[in-house]
């Protein structure tokens, strides 16, 4: 369980998150949606403890960050470190034994090559593999589907379902609504730093239509394409 109460975050005079109250339960997958700059990544970074904040974040396991696998939007890689060494680094950090990677390399990554030479999608898959092998209880996946190929997309969707079945708490942000529809139990729209009431599975289609109507409106017509 992750219990967030009255969470606010300011960057100087700019208030990015405003009095957020949410509770994330074990064995559930939560989607956070919002426009670019809505505060999704900041919310994730606050939960992870990478940002200072006002308010309270409590969890069943303490400190939360020691049981949390965080997949950033744009994972960072050292210039001369192989995929295998990257996984080893993250396993060492959590005092986990380095597993036999032959069978665990589900994305067929070239683990003996420098990770910095990987494509965007491969980097994402490597970072995801590493946090999975850390055996975390909570997962924050910031844009996990960005840049990955269709085959890996299917694997990631199934992975999220497996994590849910194992009783893990999973938080996802994605701009691809179909993947959220497929994986999430609840979706929280984030707008101007505020969380709107939760949307449950039965209302996902309505939410999608509302987003489309709000986002597109008559904007395409404004272009007067000929």
């Amino acid at each position: 369980m992750i219990d967030i109460r009255n969470l606010s975050k300011n960057f100087g005079t700019l208030q990015v998150l405003k009095n957020i109250d949410i509770r994330f339960e074990p064995g559930k997958v939560y989607g956070i949606i919002g426009e670019n700059g809505a505060g999704k990544t900041t919310l994730f970074r606050c939960i992870a403890g990478l940002e200072n904040y006002d308010g309270e974040i409590r969890s069943g396991l303490h400190p939360l960050k020691n049981y949390l696998g965080f997949l950033p939007t744009d994972p960072f890689f050292f210039s001369k470190i192989t995929g295998k060494e990257y996984i080893r680094l993250l396993c060492n950090a959590r005092k986990k034994e380095m597993p036999n990677l032959e069978s665990k390399n589900i994305f067929d990554l070239p683990l003996n090559q420098y990770a910095s030479t990987y494509s965007t999608g491969m980097k994402k898959k490597l970072a995801l593999t590493a946090i999975l092998l850390q055996e975390n209880h909570y997962f924050i996946l910031d844009e996990p589907f960005n840049g990955i190929d269709i085959h890996s997309n299917i694997i990631v969707v199934d992975l999220i379902k497996k994590l849910k079945a194992l009783g893990k708490t999973v938080l996802i942000s994605s701009h691809i609504f179909s993947t959220l529809k497929e994986t999430c139990d609840e979706i929280y729209p984030l707008k101007d730093g505020k969380i709107s009431p939760t949307v449950t599975r039965e209302n996902f289609d309505t939410l999608e239509l509302e987003i489309k109507a709000f986002t597109i409106g008559n904007k395409i017509e404004q272009l007067e394409l000929k």
């Binding site: 992870a48 403890g49 990478l50 200072n52 400190p63 960050k65 020691n66 965080f70 950033p72 994972p75 960072f76 050292f78 210039s79 001369k80 470190i81 192989t82 295998k84 060494e85 990257y86 080893r88 680094l89 993250l90 060492n92 950090a93 959590r94 005092k95 003996n112 090559q113 420098y114 030479t117």
Partner: protein, 305 residues
Amino acid sequence: MVAYIKLQYLLTNRKLSAFGVHPAIGYPLLLLLFIGLSTYLFNKTTFAPYAYTLIALYFTAKLSEIRRNDFLKICFGRIQYRKIRLLENLIVVLPFAIFLLYKEHYIPPFLLVATTILLALLNVNITYNIPLPTPFYKKPFEFTVGFRNTFFLFIIAYALTAIAVTVNNFNLGIFSLLLIFLTVLCYYLKPENEYFVWAYSATPAQFLIEKIKTAFRFSFYLCLPILLTLSLFYTENTGVLLLFTALGYLYLVAVILAKYAAFPGEIDLMQAIMLSITFIFPPMLIAVIPLFARQSVHELKRLLP
């Protein structure tokens, strides 16, 4: 090209300001620091011209980074790119070359300038897709990455040890040992992405102890061939050898702690001054190490509660 140079000037000014120094003071200060350190180096050792040339080449090599140069190639035409590279390389090596000439060394500055021009004009674009094997692969990342970037310096250090024994020059042997320690110290100068600190399930103290333990163990492996050779051939100087090794380890602790005392930023002006003082007056390490230790524990508390 003028716009690019102006932009570099602006970036340097910003770096100085971020370091806490006004550019108007920063540039003269840098010049004074350069002259001071150069004079100190030349007064301390007879091998200064070689060390000095290596340092200058190190800075030039930093400008030859592939991705940076690919970006320059995209932005500018081929001729403009070459001009920029040549100008940048010369700006870096000329102060070193001038000081070498002032100290009446004529071959090293000539070689330095020639190498620099070659580096700027040749299209050195070797992409290593096959990772260099490293004995430090089990404990990423500092020594894993560092070894791959600086392995040639270890070859030089071991060669210098062999020469030291051949020409019966113990001081040269000590210089090779210091070269290892200096190289290793460089692994800890830049802060890593905070994700790689956050990822640790450890308290700040446990984290720092782990980092220091790893640094000690791997530095020992790197120094071992030199320590064994010198203690075998210069038994009477074992005390001096142990003293320099102990100093090397103390500096290693100081630099690691200084890095995390400034984390996630880079080592600031005050810390740099304190570290510089310890290099001139080593007993200061007794005061500096506990101070950096307290600061680093404090800074790491945010990421490692």
